[in-house]
């Protein structure tokens, strides 16, 4: 069973969200998701200052097996992207919840976080898959 940190929020489409102390939110994909996709070879990220809304396809994780859209789990403005992934997409495999983060947004509406799953809810959602 893959690791599902309890301090994060999750979308059923396998993104995780971490609320930072400055009020921004960091977004990545879960360890479970990277396991399904296999070795990552390219990651396409949004641009800084892009405005994203919940459900938008904002990034792509391309593995040896398939290209997979990544959806914005929250709405906001992109304030940072993980440029290390350009040269090291394998960080998504080796450190999905840490060094493999994708992008960070300034939230439009922090209450959107309440619509996401907690760790137990996400665990239940992948058990049903």
């Amino acid at each position: 069973m893959s690791n599902i940190p309890s301090e994060l929020k999750y979308a059923t489409s396998h993104e995780w969200v971490r609320l930072e102390s400055d009020g921004t939110a960091t977004i990545g994909i879960t360890e479970h998701a990277q396991g399904l996709l296999g070795d990552m070879v390219f990651v396409e990220l949004p641009d800084i200052d892009d405005s994203v809304s919940v459900g938008d396809d904002v990034a792509v994780a391309e593995s040896v097996k398939a290209a997979s859209d990544i959806y914005a789990p929250v709405s906001g403005t992109v304030v940072a992207i993980n440029e290390e992934l350009e040269d090291a997409p394998e960080l998504l495999n080796s450190d999905a919840f840490g060094g493999g983060w994708l992008f960070r947004v300034k939230l439009d509406d922090a209450s959107e976080l309440e619509n996401l799953l907690d760790a137990e809810g996400y665990k239940n959602s992948i058990d049903e898959d």
Partner: protein, 362 residues
């Protein structure tokens, strides 16, 4: 009913992720298919290919039968152990399967065919053998391990007996030799040096473990696919099938047109196709920018449309490559377009071979 090879427990013990491969439960990877790929390009890796089908063709008419059955000419084989890559066609000139034939004598040959096509291959061979004096014997009692990479021969060498070492000493590429219980061949599906070893099932686990202990990395079907694609080797079912002529699948080099009186199955169709010059051809495509070319994506050229038959990310090159079937007038060096995830990307046409012996070759 899922088949398991004799090495199934060894795969699980090495942490393999298992998948269904045409009815066989096989390892797709043991963690990272890219690391396994690099192991084969830079050191040594091994694959369980025990699912492949070994068929011995023996008897007075074995040679005449195979001269009719396949598009290459087994009469070219005169040195015992020499192997030949070729295709077996239906009467419409489509590829039933590709295979390797090992020659031992004019009355004794060993064929290795794909597992996914096992039943139809055996049925076709049996049907075509009517009137020939020979036996067709499947050999399911063997396992097969492919050990591949620049260090493969040296690492296998540490495990061989004096007699086995002597038998394989100086063996050229595309040969095989039976020594004791082992059949050791200098064939493979990766573009690297190495061996394919056919071994009695009872001894297969022990050899696999000894290879592990010698530092040979276990590699799954994922790495096998990226390695063969970099090497420009066809995969049956993707790059060709019964609807495709060998001329359209980069297999023309395996057709022996001489002597002209050899009446192999499909000859009349191929002769007409060759004269017409209208068959598409299999080329390589190289994408330098981000993204991965995938099977079934459309190729757009000035001469008309084509299709990607196999595409992948090339771990050796760091970008994507593909095999594609395109109109014959498309040339190496042309820039064509591929429809990829709702956009068009430019790719360069190459010969259908990308990496050999660890080095870029286009």
């Amino acid at each position: 009913m899922t088949n398991k090879t004799v090495l199934h427990a060894k795969h699980l013990a090495s942490g393999a992720k298992m998948v269904d491969f045409y009815g066989w439960e096989m390892p797709i990877n043991y963690g990272s298919q890219i690391e396994e790929h690099h192991a084969v390009r830079t050191d040594a890796g091994m694959f369980d290919v025990s699912h492949m089908t070994i068929v011995d063709v023996q008897g007075t008419d074995a040679k005449d039968f195979l001269r009719r059955l396949v598009i290459n000419d087994v009469a070219k084989l005169t040195v015992p152990g020499k192997a030949l890559y070729t295709g077996m066609l239906n009467e419409a000139g489509g590829v039933i399967d590709d295979l390797i034939i090992y020659f031992f004598s004019d009355t004794n040959y060993r064929l290795v065919v794909n597992s996914a096509t096992r039943e139809k291959d055996l049925a076709w061979m049996t049907k075509q053998s009517i009137g020939f004096d020979l036996t067709i014997t499947e050999r399911p009692e063997f396992g097969m391990i492919a050990v591949q990479g620049p260090e493969a021969i040296a690492k296998v060498g540490t495990l061989l007996s004096a007699e086995e070492s002597a038998a394989v000493e100086g063996m050229k590429p595309f040969f095989g030799v039976q020594v004791g219980d082992l059949f050791i061949a200098t064939t493979g599906y990766t573009g690297e040096n190495g061996y394919e070893i056919i071994i009695p099932e009872s001894a297969a686990e022990d050899l696999w473990q000894k290879l592990l202990d010698a530092g040979v990395a276990p590699c799954g079907l994922g790495a096998r696919d990226t390695l063969r694609l970099e090497a420009g080797m066809n995969l049956y079912g993707l790059d060709m099938d019964e609807t495709v002529s060998p001329i359209a699948a980069n297999m023309a080099w395996t057709i022996s047109w001489e002597p002209t009186d050899r009446d192999f199955i499909g000859r009349d169709v191929l002769t007409a196709q060759k004269a017409a010059g209208d068959q598409p051809k299999l080329v390589g495509l190289v994408l330098e920018e981000k993204g991965v070319l995938r099977t079934a994506q459309k190729v757009i050229t000035e001469a008309g449309e084509g299709i990607i038959t196999s595409g992948t990310f090339s771990p050796t090159l760091g970008h994507s490559v593909a095999l594609a079937r395109v109109p014959r007038s498309v040339k190496v060096g042309d820039v064509v377009e591929v429809e990829m995830r709702k956009k068009l990307v430019k790719v360069t046409v190459t010969k259908p071979s990308f990496v050999r012996n660890g080095k870029k070759v286009f």
